[in-house]
C-alpha cells in the first residue's frame, strides 16, 4: 500500500540526510520495514528503482530488512515473535497481545562518500563565497 509515495518520502528523507553530511556519492541505503506496517518490501524496492532516477541515489542499492513484531502474552507471559498481524500466543492461544516492535518504516543506514576534512573546508569556503 502506497509503496510509491513511501519511495518518494524515502528519497526526500535520505536526500536531506545526504545533504546534511555533504555526501558526494551514495553507495547504498538501508531501510527497516516493520512487519506490522503492511508495506511489501518487494514493491517498495521496485518503486525505489523508479523514484531514484535523476537523484544522488541513482546508483545506490536499497537494502530492506523486515523487523518482526515482538510481543508478550498477557495471559501466560510468554514472549514471541510474529511476522504477520495475527497476534495469537503460540503457547497458550491467548489474545490481546501488544507488540513492542514491528511498526516502523525507518532509514537506518547510509553508505556514503564524503569529502576529506580539508577538501570539505575548501568546498564550504567556496560555498560561503557564493552566498555573499
Amino acid at each position: 500500500m502506497h509503496e510509491w509515495s513511501l519511495a518518494m518520502s524515502l528519497i526526500e528523507e535520505a536526500g536531506a540526510e545526504a545533504r546534511r553530511r555533504g555526501a558526494l556519492k551514495v553507495h547504498s541505503i538501508t531501510v527497516r520495514v516493520g512487519a506490522l506496517t503492511g508495506v511489501v518490501p518487494e514493491l517498495l524496492g521496485r518503486a525505489y528503482e523508479v523514484a531514484r532516477t535523476g537523484t544522488i541515489f541513482e546508483g545506490a542499492d536499497l537494502h530492506l530488512h523486515v523487523e518482526p513484531a515482538r510481543a508478550s502474552c498477557p495471559t501466560c507471559g510468554e514472549e514471541s515473535e510474529f511476522d504477520d498481524f495475527y497476534l495469537v500466543c503460540p503457547s497458550c492461544g491467548g489474545i490481546g497481545l501488544r507488540p513492542m516492535s514491528g511498526e516502523g518504516l525507518v532509514l537506518t543506514r547510509m553508505d556514503i562518500e564524503i569529502p576529506e576534512e580539508d577538501e570539505k573546508n575548501a568546498t564550504d569556503a567556496r560555498r560561503q563565497g557564493d552566498d555573499r
Binding site: L6, S9, F85, I95, E116
Partner: protein, 246 residues
C-alpha cells in the same frame, strides 16, 4: 562536485580525465541513522495534536469502508450532545460536499476536504482544515476520513483517537482482512445493529479478531438510527476528553 577528479560530472566529462591518483580527497563512511519515512507527516500530526490539546479539543478520526455509517454516527452524537458539548467536524471525500452539507444542516461547524484522487487524509490536509474551524469554542472534533479500509491506516492525522467502523451488513469475516487499519485504531464500532435480525452476522467474531490485531482496542455495538449503544460510545469519548484536558 569534485574539481580534482571530476566525480559527479556527467559520464563524458569523467572519461576525458585520468584517474590514476584514486580518490584521496574523499572517503567512504557508513552512517547509522534513525529517520522515519513518514517523518514529515508525523511531525505535522504531532503539531496538530498539540494545537488541538491547547484548545481543549479531543479529536477523533473515523475510518471505515464507504457506507458503514460514519456520517450517521456523527449526526447521532451531535444530536445527543446538543447544548452540552460543542462539536466540530472535518469531512474527507474524493468528491462532493454531501457529507459536510448533512453536518451543516445540524448547525455544527464543518469543513469539507475534497481530495481529488487521494484515497486518504493526511496530517497536512487536517492542519489546513483546522484553520477553518472555530477551535476556541470546541470540545470534540470528528475527522471523517475518506471511505476506505486500506489506506488511512498508515497516516497519523494528529487526532487523539482513531476508530474503525464496520456495519453488520459487511460480513463478520472482514476484520482480519484489514489488519493495518485496525492496528492504527484505539476503538472499533460495530454499526447498524438494528439490522441484525436481517443478516447473518456473529458479532463476537469481529470483536475477537479486532483484539487479536490490536490487543487494547475498545469495542462498541451501536445503531445511529435507533440510538442504541450511542450513549456508551459517547461516555467513552467524554472520559477520554476528560483524561486529555483535565
Amino acid at each position: 562536485m569534485c574539481e580534482t577528479c571530476g566525480c559527479g560530472l556527467p559520464e563524458e566529462a569523467k572519461q576525458a580525465h585520468e584517474h590514476d591518483h584514486g580518490h584521496e580527497h574523499s572517503h567512504r563512511e557508513e552512517a547509522e541513522l534513525y529517520r522515519s519515512l513518514l517523518a514529515a507527516n508525523e511531525a505535522q500530526a504531532r503539531e496538530n495534536r498539540g494545537h488541538l490539546m491547547e484548545h481543549g479539543v479531543l479529536a477523533v478520526n473515523l475510518m471505515s469502508s464507504p457506507g458503514s455509517g460514519k456520517t450517521s454516527l456523527i449526526e447521532a452524537v451531535a444530536k445527543a450532545v446538543e447544548g452540552r458539548l460543542r462539536i466540530g467536524v472535518i469531512e474527507g471525500d474524493l468528491a462532493t460536499d454531501r457529507d459536510a452539507a448533512r453536518i451543516k444542516a445540524l448547525g455544527v461547524p464543518v469543513w469539507q476536504i475534497t481530495t481529488g484522487s487521494t484515497c486518504h487524509l493526511d496530517a497536512p490536509m487536517v492542519h489546513r482544515a483546522l484553520h477553518e474551524l472555530p477551535l476556541a469554542g470546541m470540545d470534540l472534533l470528528f475527522v471523517e476520513n475518506v471511505g476506505n479500509l486500506v489506506c488511512p491506516g498508515l497516516y497519523d492525522l494528529g487526532c487523539h483517537l482513531n476508530g474503525v467502523l464496520l456495519s453488520v451488513t459487511e460480513g463478520d469475516d472482514k476484520v482480519a482482512k484489514y489488519p493495518v487499519v485496525f492496528r492504527h485504531a484505539q476503538f472499533f464500532c460495530l454499526t447498524k445493529t438494528d439490522l441484525l435480525p436481517h443478516v447473518v452476522f456473529d458479532a463476537a467474531k469481529p470483536k475477537r479478531e479486532a483484539r487479536i490485531l490490536k490487543g487494547d482496542i475498545k469495542t462498541f455495538e451501536l445503531s445511529a438510527r435507533t440510538g442504541e449503544g450511542v450513549g456508551g460510545f459517547l461516555a467513552y469519548l467524554e472520559s477520554e476528553r476528560r483524561a486529555l484536558v483535565g
